[in-house]
Symmetry: C2
Subunit: 384 residues, 2 copies
């Protein structure tokens, strides 16, 4: 049996949402789950103990970043990423594909792999399916992502098709390379841009590899959310019921809920931590931009309904002061809050699945958060 | 009785060092004590819980900074600095004098007070003994520092004498203004530059005010350490035995030990937290500059003899990676370590006082830290 597998506890009545438990060598995780991102062997501003306190049991690491600095060989010498960064929960590492392809002119794609220049020092580097697996074996993550090509948006049908075929060929090479399948689970990635037939073909042919889990990549790359939801509508049914499904790069509250409704079990995104450091808190009644003058004397916590360390102990006025003064504690408190907010959101989603009330929960949450008004305004931009 | 007072438990045999307990409205503190600095209502990078965990029971706040931002009126509305920043230990606030005088050309001194321009926006501001007391009453610190003039170094005798006289006149105005003496203790500040007769006169005339505690200011301003120790040698004996003595702005390990030997009970300095953020750890065997290549693969903790959170859980290689990657967790871990290092140092100092072995402890500590060699090299520069 794969070291990572999903137990489905309940299927929601009126949607594709499922409640489950994801078993990993580093703990059991309730799904659907949002995974905080720890790009450079740290979830920015946080200790592992704080990550646990907000309720997260699985985090991401980034192959591209760790390969360039400090180097995967060093991390291997330290017994893998878990030991290096003092985190005993589960880890998923991406393959570096997304970062490499986002380098644009700095990279050159061939059948063999991708040549690129480091964003640190311009040095020439090379990633391939084999190299991405070698790095991820050194990192020792519980879940290893296949090395794929993430197509840009928009993208021609010809390019999307050729890229999808290459991603499938690369998946074979990834599967052939990964030798640690007793401790590490390889997830394949469905591509195909926004083309329905390509997405369906990509899903079917990826599933043929009989992997422990499947991701949907190439979304949340600039398309509007309605388009993303449509892709999920026709892609997810092609994935096996009994395997975890991971929607990459999604972390706004509305897209998390809509993703779960469409059958997604796992999500990751830098959004909650990034906007936290920019001074934006997610709350049940919408966003709080903490530097705004209206909060200068506000004794309320960031979100009166939140139970996080920041909301239990600090006023908006104090956190605003920290941001105005450039104090690191402000970044810490906002990060803790946003991550806890998403953990609480996922817990409510799971409760709603258990109670078969997910659509009612969505409507209420959207109304309170203010998404309702956005939709009435016909503003078709992403909410985050 | 003053809300802040010192109980002396033991007088060391062969030095002026004393072991004591400092009673405050927010807890009892073992002395000699090092107080971490929380300039802008936060000890940089740390939560109050972490400050407690490293063992600190009293921290500093800065009148100048909090007056300008967020403003003392706001902090008063929030019930004082303790509530505003969620710290229930003791707080000492400086008077703003040191910051204002360090502004140089941006300020103008008159008998009434000091006019200066804010370093934030250039706006015209005014601090006087009365204003400094008003601000500190709003902040609600346990220990309130008198508004003094901190003379630069070097400084002519004429200037030092005139300034000392003004500081004494201002002390009278501070004492007349502070109305909260049941909850706040006013400490006077001895000045007089490096002139022995002025220091002695300043000390004697400050003591005439019969205050709950006395500080020695105008040191650690660029003079060499030997000069500072000499000033302590002739100034401290002028201060009453039964009152706490506070040496302002001193935090290097050697000066802490030498200060205690000369009868000092309290110290503060930004040094440990500032050098931490610059990547320098204080350890029993000297400084560790974490970015140095020699630590790239070093599995040891910052200081193998240290019990802090950073040393219990992380390697030098990992912390170095965090610094190279510009990650905030690196700043946090180094700050925790340096503050804990000084707390442990003060605990060992107190133990040595109790055992009448302080001079032996000093010699051993200096040898291990590497101060011995510095002295042999006749390098007369400050160690930090």
């Amino acid at each position: 049996m794969s070291p990572v597998h999903l137990e489905i506890l309940q299927q929601e009545k009126s949607t594709r949402a499922r409640l489950g438990k994801l078993y990993t060598p580093h703990g059991v995780i309730d799904t659907p789950v949002f995974m905080p991102v720890g790009t450079q062997a740290t979830v920015k501003t946080m200790t592992p103990e704080e990550i646990k306190e907000i309720g997260a049991g699985i985090i991401l690491g980034n192959t591209y970043h760790l390969f360039l600095r400090p180097g995967h060989e060093l991390i291997r010498e330290f017994g893998g990423l878990h030991h290096f960064m003092h985190w005993d929960g589960a880890i998923l590492t991406d393959s570096g594909g997304f970062q490499v392809f986002s380098l644009g002119d700095l990279r050159k794609i061939t059948e063999e792999g991708v040549e690129f220049r480091s964003h640190h020092d311009g040095s020439k580097q090379f990633l391939s399916p084999e190299k991405a697996m070698e790095i991820q074996m050194a990192l020792g993550a519980d879940i290893v992502m296949a090395f794929d090509e993430c197509t840009p948006h928009p993208c021609t049908r010809e390019y999307a098709e050729a890229s999808m075929e290459r991603t499938l060929r690369w998946l074979k090479r990834c599967q052939d390379t990964l030798k640690t399948t007793r401790t590490q689970a390889l997830f394949g990635i469905v591509q195909g841009s926004m083309y329905k037939d390509l997405r369906i073909e990509s899903a079917r042919r990826t599933v043929e590899y009989d992997l422990p889990g499947y991701a949907i990549g190439g979304l949340s790359v600039g398309e509007d959310k309605q388009t993303m939801y449509e892709v999920l509508d026709y892609t997810v049914p092609e994935l096996p019921e009994d395997k975890p499904r991971y929607l990459m790069g999604v972390g706004s509250p509305d897209a998390l809920i809509e993703g779960v409704i469409r059958g997604i079990d796992m999500f990751d995104c830098v959004l909650p931590t990034r906007i936290a450091r920019n001074g934006t808190a997610m709350t049940r009644s919408g966003k709080v931009v903490i530097k705004n003058a209206e909060y200068a004397k506000d004794p309320k916590p960031l979100d009166p309904g939140c139970d996080c360390y920041a909301c239990r102990n600090y006023s908006r006025a104090y956190i605003r002061h920290l941001f105005k003064a450039g104090e690191i504690l402000g970044l810490r408190l906002m990060t803790i809050h946003n991550l806890r907010f998403l953990q609480n959101l996922m817990a409510e989603i799971r409760k709603s699945i258990a109670g078969d009330t997910l659509l009612e929960f969505r409507d209420r949450f959207f109304r309170e958060y203010g998404y309702e008004e956005e939709r009435q305004d016909k503003q078709n931009r992403p909410a985050d």
